[in-house]
């Protein structure tokens, strides 16, 4: 731990020896990951102007859109405020936060992958024994993130230049800025944990916090001026105002934050030994109480269940707290008030807001269920399942331990989200809890698909992430873009009743439940029949 005990530091230039080689190596390892993430992100952004032109052909349509959404706090919380009705500004508004979050997650994954992952696996030792400077690995990891974000910025700038060069440049640089802020943040977090999984989880939590802060700030203010918005790097992105009178100085915030965080990461990295961390693992018990596969599964997953539970409860509290304000803000706008009164007045409005928030949490719970189901896959491919299954543990019993946590855990986090709403909003406790729980059949269909993929096509198990991603994309972006019903129907969430406010539809819910059970059962049959891979 006290690497600086001798106060000796290698000469400056040698600290970076080997960086170029490591960078090339990292880019080679990520030759699929970076193009796919950046490509999907860029595609989502660059297809937006076209979609918007089709949907809102005339300037009058766009002006209406701006007026409606600017007045709607729930829309602002989800997407952010609109600053102008040009196609460019609407594009930046519509995709900005999500593209920024995507860039943040990719950057975070890249940095953790090339720093803490390498140390944890022991590969870093081998690398460090070569002609590699003390700071080379961290530098190469950050440069990898720079490359990915620079490519994204370039694609966005070039692709949107038709809407206005300055705006395109601002959006591109802003997205890259968000990416680098979280890349350097991940570099700091990676100094504190010995486990890459924990580093990823903590940084993902910070991305989520940035999203929630911005959402809270934007629902309270319609021009991004809330303090909460200014605390979040995702809020900086909207306050850069691409295509709407760019505030170039906001870029300094990104640069400043990235530089300061980067410096902190280097300082921390220089003060510790390779493979060690500032939060070292304590010794464990000499004897254990674990006696069943289910207990082991719980032991392995309890940390992540706890993290998700806290996140969902807090999200419920935050969004619950926003709910009353939604109606008040809309009340100032005559046009919007008229619309919403037709929708059922104040009650209809808060219900609509609550339904969209609960629906969003349901979509995110789909990510939890996929991650939890795929722990089975991780256990199998890492070789830990094999000796375990060589004991008197049947495959189904082993799998059911993890699946109980996957399916039961998703019920738990949705329940906690509902309780969070109860704390934050305090009214309609029963209906909101019901709305949270009614998401579960759709969540479980996604989980069932993950079980099916894992059980029957283990090589394609990671495709479950693709399923969750598609469901998320349809749920978030689909309705706002008036996507065709056939596409919306692909997502199980599209078939859920809109609660609270709408009527309960037992038929659809039961069909989804049966489907989820059927998919999971088919997956388990496949698992029992196939060879275990190693």
């Amino acid at each position: 731990m006290t690497a600086t005990a001798f106060g000796v530091r290698p000469a400056g230039s040698r600290q970076l020896a080997g960086t170029a080689t490591l960078l090339r190596f990292a880019l080679r390892r990520d030759r699929l990951m970076i193009p796919v993430w950046v490509g999907v992100n860029a595609l989502m952004i660059l297809s937006m102007p076209n979609t918007l032109e089709n949907l809102y052909a005339s300037p009058a349509d766009r002006a209406n859109l701006v007026q409606d959404t600017a007045a709607n706090a729930s829309f602002r919380a989800l997407i952010g405020p609109v600053f102008d009705d040009s196609i460019g500004a609407l594009t930046a508004w519509r995709v900005g936060v999500y593209a920024g979050a995507l860039a943040a997650v990719l950057s975070m994954l890249l940095v953790v992958r090339h720093t803490r992952d390498e140390e944890e696996s022991g590969r870093q030792e081998l690398v460090a024994s070569g002609m590699v400077g003390r700071r080379a690995s961290l530098t190469a990891a950050l440069l990898t993130a720079v490359v990915a974000n620079a490519v994204l910025a370039l694609l966005v700038t070039a692709g949107l230049a038709g809407q206005g060069t300055a705006g395109a440049l601002a959006l591109g640089l802003g997205l890259a800025g968000v990416g680098m802020v979280f890349a350097t943040l991940a570099a700091i977090v990676a100094q504190f944990t010995e486990s890459a999984r924990l580093a990823r989880g903590l940084t993902a939590g910070l991305v989520g916090a940035a999203f929630v802060l911005r959402a809270a700030g934007d629902s309270a203010s319609d021009d991004g001026s809330s303090v909460l918005t200014w605390v979040s790097p995702l809020g900086w992105l909207e306050n850069l105002r691409p295509f709407a009178g760019e505030r170039w100085w906001v870029l300094l915030l990104f640069a400043g934050a990235a530089l300061v965080q980067g410096a902190v990461a280097y300082e921390l990295a220089g003060r510790r030994d390779v493979g060690m961390s500032f939060l070292p693992a304590r010794p464990g018990p000499a004897t254990g109480r674990l006696g069943t596969a289910a207990a082991l599964a719980w032991r392995l997953q309890r940390g992540s269940v706890l993290g998700w539970s806290i996140g969902f409860f807090l999200a419920g509290v935050v969004y619950g707290g926003l709910t009353d304000g939604v109606a008040d803000l809309v009340g100032d706008n005559d046009n919007a008030r008229e619309i919403f009164e037709r929708m059922g007045g104040q009650a209809g409005l808060t219900d609509a807001f609550l339904a969209s928030m609960v629906g969003m949490l349901g979509l995110i719970a789909a990510l939890y269920v996929v991650a939890s189901v795929l722990r089975l896959h991780g256990e199998e491919t890492s070789g830990r399942a094999e000796p375990l299954l060589a004991n008197a543990v049947g495959r189904l019993r082993w799998a059911s331990g993890h699946l109980t946590i996957a399916f039961g855990g998703s019920a738990l986090i949705m329940l906690l989200a509902g309780l969070g709403f109860a704390v934050g909003y305090g009214k309609e406790v029963g209906p909101i809890l019901g709305a949270c729980l009614v998401q579960l059949p759709a969540v479980w269909v996604v989980g069932g698909l993950a079980v099916l993929l894992y059980g029957v096509l283990p090589r394609a198990a990671m495709g479950a992430w693709g399923v969750a991603g598609a469901v998320l994309l349809i749920g978030w972006v689909g309705p706002a873009l008036d996507a065709p019903q056939a596409v919306l129907d692909l997502s199980p969430f599209g078939h859920l009743p809109k609660l609270p406010g709408g009527g309960m539809e037992w038929g659809a819910v039961l069909v989804l439940l049966v489907l989820a059970v059927g998919l999971a059962a088919a997956g388990l049959v496949g698992l029992r029949r196939r060879d275990m891979t190693s």
Partner: protein, 302 residues
């Protein structure tokens, strides 16, 4: 004697690769059986079929009298398995893993657990990720040797152990034999196999090429003979089973099929023997004979 493991005509393919191509294996109850073969010969695949982790394409396998695929859980209750590359859960201590494995088998002998931890010099409080390769193996070995089971299946279990620990391992296997347990030991360390095993099976390219006690196997191969004679040797080259004959004056070196040794000795003594050394083939020679591709494949009598 009853058989602990019987395998006959086992086939298993992965895509176009024939990992097992009619493999046979018999392990008697109470013996330590060596399982030898070059990398990729199908040792681990066989073991994973025996553990019910893989399903054989055809052929029969019985472990402790049961079908390892259909009755996996019942079979596993009486088995302890040590893989060649143990991976542990990063946040579980070694002691927790040992106890978990013990409970998931037929149970754990507390006294023996403590004794084994001492003998293997294992720190059971460390977390999975902080163990070195050798120490991870020790966790699995302690769990296996302390478990109350009838059959131990060890797949190259000593990789990463230092020579002192290798010695402890060998003592432990001998103790298992004394307690009447059966051990299937897949290994590359021939001295270990020679030291421990009652019988061995050598496999190559997914099939068994030799099987039997070491004495049986030696009998099937060649003995090295070096002799100083009183007179010139006579007619040695015409004797059946003589190979690599090298005569330099009165000095003779040759290899002879062990079952033809008698005739060679008689011929030598006709010339008058001044000194004679005869060395049985080492396991290594047995092994190499089957490993080298240029040696024609022959299936010895089993």
């Amino acid at each position: 004697m009853t058989k602990a493991i019987t395998v006959s005509g086992l086939h298993k393919s992965f895509g176009r690769t024939h990992a097992l191509d009619g493999l046979d294996l018999d392990v008697e109850t109470g013996e330590v059986h060596g399982f030898l073969g070059p990398n990729g010969a199908g040792k681990s695949t066989t073991i994973r079929v025996l553990l019910g982790l893989l399903r054989a394409d055809s052929g029969g396998a019985q472990v402790l009298g049961r079908d390892p695929w259909a009755d996996a859980v019942e079979v596993h209750r009486r088995i302890a398995y040590v893989p060649g590359d143990v991976t542990l859960w990063r946040n579980l201590s070694g002691g927790e893993v040992i106890d978990l494995y013990g409970r998931l088998r037929g149970g754990l002998d507390k006294g023996r657990r403590a004794e084994l931890i001492e003998r293997f010099e294992l720190d059971p409080t460390k977390k999975g990720r902080t163990y070195s390769k050798g120490n991870r193996q020790k966790v699995a070995l302690v769990a296996a040797f302390a478990s109350d089971v009838d059959l131990l299946i060890l797949d190259e279990p000593t990789s990463g152990l230092d020579p002192l620990m290798e010695e402890v391992f060998q003592r432990c296997v001998e103790e298992e034999r004394e307690r009447g347990r059966t051990v299937l030991l897949s290994s590359h360390i021939l001295s270990e196999v020679e030291e421990l095993c009652d019988r061995v099976s050598i496999i190559r390219k997914g099939r068994t090429v030799e099987s039997g006690s070491l004495a049986d196997l030696r009998h099937l191969t060649r003995t090295n003979v070096t002799a100083e004679l009183a007179g010139p040797p006579n007619g040695l080259s015409h004797l059946p089973g003589v190979h690599d004959l090298d005569v330099q004056g009165m000095r003779v070196r040759l290899q002879v099929d062990t079952d033809k040794l008698d005739a060679v000795l008689r011929s030598l003594s006709e010339s008058g023997v001044r000194s004679l050394t005869s060395t049985p083939p080492t396991l290594e020679e047995l092994f190499l004979r089957h490993y080298q591709d240029d040696v024609p494949e022959e299936v010895a009598a089993r």
